[in-house]
Subunit: 307 residues, 2 copies
């Protein structure tokens, strides 16, 4: 099962870190962008090519250190189709290098639209007998606000030979997440209701590692929420954003793990891929990212031991 794939990659590298590939113009070293603009002229194409070179450098540098990467679709879509094209190529590149690859779209669609997306992202498209996978990945991060109709079309691909994973946003990593997610309904807050649904969507879809094929995004904006959710849902795998640039710390991230150091992965993006900006002595951007991952790994090891 695919959640086993993620868990086994984490155990092999003893590193429960997902690096978020969220490129934006200010995260690209200026010389890198300038060289592409010289070649192609300023425009979406040059910026997209600089995203590509930037992310390829990161993927190569981190491949023996980090088990998984997460592509933030919005960052690439912001450039138009040139960005999407580069993201598709990078996803294939990351798969080839052996990463567990996540796509974060954060969408919430009604049933027939969700079915189209599920077919494309997980099932692939059939063209005259040839199957094309526009977005090669192992898992998808989306929103569950529309309920089961938006999730069920993905579930058939969570079974079978090469099963995929879903991660549903239960509690997001931003401060204002509480405006909706923390509203109390009966004896549950809304994010707990979302976790209950997530658990239900995982029914009969559990890996050998004991965790479900449908995981939950549980951000570090509220450490108490992470603790409470871990206690209540011992079979939901947690994807934990909000580390580093968004203010989360290792002590709180540790709440997401079980006693074996399993069942969770911590996401960091800007603090890793933008590390070259903080520390000009760290050399080029891939080396700075490696140093930042090693630092984050050490921080986590103060609180979590992956067995």
């Amino acid at each position: 099962m695919s959640i086993d794939l993620l868990q086994s990659k984490i155990r092999k590298l003893k590193c429960p870190i997902v690096v978020g590939l969220d490129p934006s113009r200010e995260l690209i070293p200026p010389e890198l962008l300038a060289s592409w603009e010289e070649k192609l002229g300023p425009g979406p194409e040059a910026l997209a090519e600089s995203f590509s070179e930037f992310c390829k450098g990161l993927l190569e540098a981190l491949k023996k250190l980090v088990p998984a990467v997460k592509f933030q679709a919005a960052c690439f879509e912001a450039l138009g189709w040139q960005g999407v094209k580069v993201m598709q190529e990078l996803m294939a590149y990351a798969k080839k290098l052996g990463y567990y690859v996540l796509l974060e779209t954060m969408r919430s669609d009604v049933g027939h639209i969700a079915a189209l997306s599920a077919q494309s992202i997980f099932g692939g498209l059939d063209f005259g007998g040839e199957r094309v996978f526009p977005y090669p990945c192992d898992g998808l991060v989306l929103s569950g606000y529309l309920g089961s109709d938006g999730i069920k079309p993905y579930l058939p691909w969570l079974r079978g030979d090469k099963p995929k994973n879903l991660f549903v946003v239960v509690k997001s990593s931003n401060k204002s997440s509480m405006e909706v997610q923390d509203l109390l309904s009966g004896d549950r807050v809304i994010y707990t209701a979302m976790a209950d649904l997530t658990l239900r969507w995982s029914t009969e879809l559990f890996g050998k590692c004991g965790y479900g094929q449908v995981g939950a995004v549980v951000g570090l904006s509220s450490p108490a929420a992470v603790q409470a959710l871990r206690k209540r849902y011992d079979s939901l795998f947690f994807l934990v954003p909000g580390y580093g640039a968004q203010g989360g710390v290792a002590k709180h991230a540790a709440y997401a793990f079980d006693r074996l150091g399993h069942g969770a992965a911590v996401c960091a993006s800007r603090s890793i891929i933008g590390a070259w900006r903080e520390n000009p002595d760290a050399g080029d951007w891939p080396e700075a990212a490696v140093a930042a991952v090693e630092k984050m790994k050490k921080q986590l090891e103060g609180y979590v031991t992956v067995l």
Copy 2:
């Protein structure tokens, strides 16, 4: 103000209909797709070109009948970058023909990612002094599950010379929307809490027509909810999906309007753009769509008069 633009276009055509451009392979006439596959070979490019010709035919045929169109990003993204490229071109084409153009991404992103999307979609990208608008549109449909952090980055573009609109999903049009949206919290259900937030985001952003620049998506899955929401929020413009193929009827859609027939627009997609499948006698697909819009308009006129 932009919500005035939408309202005035609706009043001019006496037609409160938004046609959803949600193309998929089975909605494309087979001869049309076959001719592109003959030219380009089967693949994402031929399918994308067939989407383009299909949607251009619809946009031309409906331009004097329908005030607004809505592009469903997922349908185009499903093909990969070739689909996104075509969507971008079609958005520019629709703007040129005079439509009020909506982009539906249904995303919910944390602040710094939302800011990137807002800059790209509303503000445009600056390349060496030249401003590029990858997604030319008047309004954007998204999810509010992450709270204010995901919405506020868009608000600066809702003011000024050429103000844009947001439409936040309050109550979606699918059956299982109740799983989260209908949970009771204090004296409100969650979709009412979302409507309260939407109203707050509209503060100081009201058009001359009396409606706010941030509107609400209110689906027809629960007619009682439409009625209750209209009564409670007399200054929220409602975008009403779920008509036709999803089961909504004119009598219930009418609940979304005020006494002047203002403050709402009803979305229909498959029942219009896929009308050629139901009625082979209606001629080609643009003619069938025109007939379907005229029929829907007449149905609505039984319950709503736009003054």
